[in-house]
């Protein structure tokens, strides 16, 4: 169970009563989690903003339906996961490789190492974006939010075995796609 019991329950009850300050507090509590999952899933800020906004609108409008059977945090994660999966397939950002390569060649020392790290991060995120949505969401919940297998299973409404299987498939796909980075990672 991902819930922090009593203060959260009070907050939820205040939201159910329509208290404006409670909504504000709820937003401040979950904004980073919701936005992080949205950004890591969607891969671009504009889409992440849309997903996060959609999640909070649904959350505020459906909070009366929250019965407390699952933890509230789990419920919030379910909302953002559904918003992510509902999001229409967007146009992929094309990385201007030539420009980045020229910039890398012009740089030196720490700046070069920093740029290499940033480049590796971009490649990792791009590889994650290429995963199918069901594999990608498992990776995001695992590495962005640090959720355990049982927590991911609770959010997605599937078994721990399914989570383990999807993570395994995602890891293999990422390892294959990012194999060329293994040497670069060692130097960065």
């Amino acid at each position: 169970m991902l819930v922090r019991e009593s203060p959260e329950r009070e907050l939820v009850e205040a939201c159910k009563r329509g208290e404006r300050d409670a909504f504000r507090t709820l937003f401040e509590t979950y904004k980073n989690k919701v936005y992080s999952v949205a950004l890591r899933f969607a891969g671009e800020e504009a889409a992440a903003m849309d997903i996060a906004q959609d999640t909070f609108v649904k959350l505020f409008s459906c909070i009366r339906d929250f019965r407390g059977e699952a933890g509230f945090e789990t419920w919030v994660y379910r909302m953002v996961v559904n918003s992510c999966l509902d999001q229409k397939r967007r146009t992929r950002r094309l990385v201007p490789l030539a420009d980045e390569l020229m910039a890398t060649l012009r740089a030196s020392g720490d700046v070069l190492a920093q740029m290499l790290r940033a480049e590796i991060g971009d490649r990792v995120r791009a590889a994650v974006e290429k995963l199918t949505p069901d594999l990608r969401i498992v990776i995001v919940l695992r590495y962005t939010e640090g959720l355990a297998y049982d927590q991911i299973a609770e959010v997605l409404g599937c078994s721990q075995g399914t989570v383990a299987s999807r993570l395994n498939r995602a890891h293999k796909a990422l390892e294959r796609r990012l194999a060329h980075l293994a040497k670069g990672v060692a130097h960065a």
Binding site: F23, K33, Y35, S36, M49, Y143, T144
Partner: protein, 89 residues
């Protein structure tokens, strides 16, 4: 899974801080809508004005009906169907 991949995934997918613009989008105050009663009143008033205008115009310009003219050139052939059309109206 290799250790480097685990490390890079954790680094590359690290959580981020939500931009301030998200707060604006989610918590911005809704514009205050005018009360529905006012809208209904305005619509009713507009309908009354339109009705009055229509009545006034129709009273001012009586409809002129032109006299029917007989035109032998357009004489319709007499058959059962034509008779039924006129005599049932």
């Amino acid at each position: 899974m290799p250790e480097w991949l685990e490390r890079e995934l954790a680094a590359g997918l690290a959580p981020v801080e939500a931009p301030g613009a998200l707060r604006e989008r989610v918590l911005r105050p809704r514009p205050v809508l005018p009360a529905r009663r006012v809208s209904v009143f305005l619509i009713a008033a507009a309908m009354v004005v339109l009705s009055a205008g229509t009545v006034w115009l129709s009273a001012r310009q009586p409809v002129r009906v032109s006299n029917a003219r007989w035109n032998p050139a357009t004489r319709a052939p007499i058959n059962d169907h034509n008779c039924v059309l006129c005599h049932t109206l």
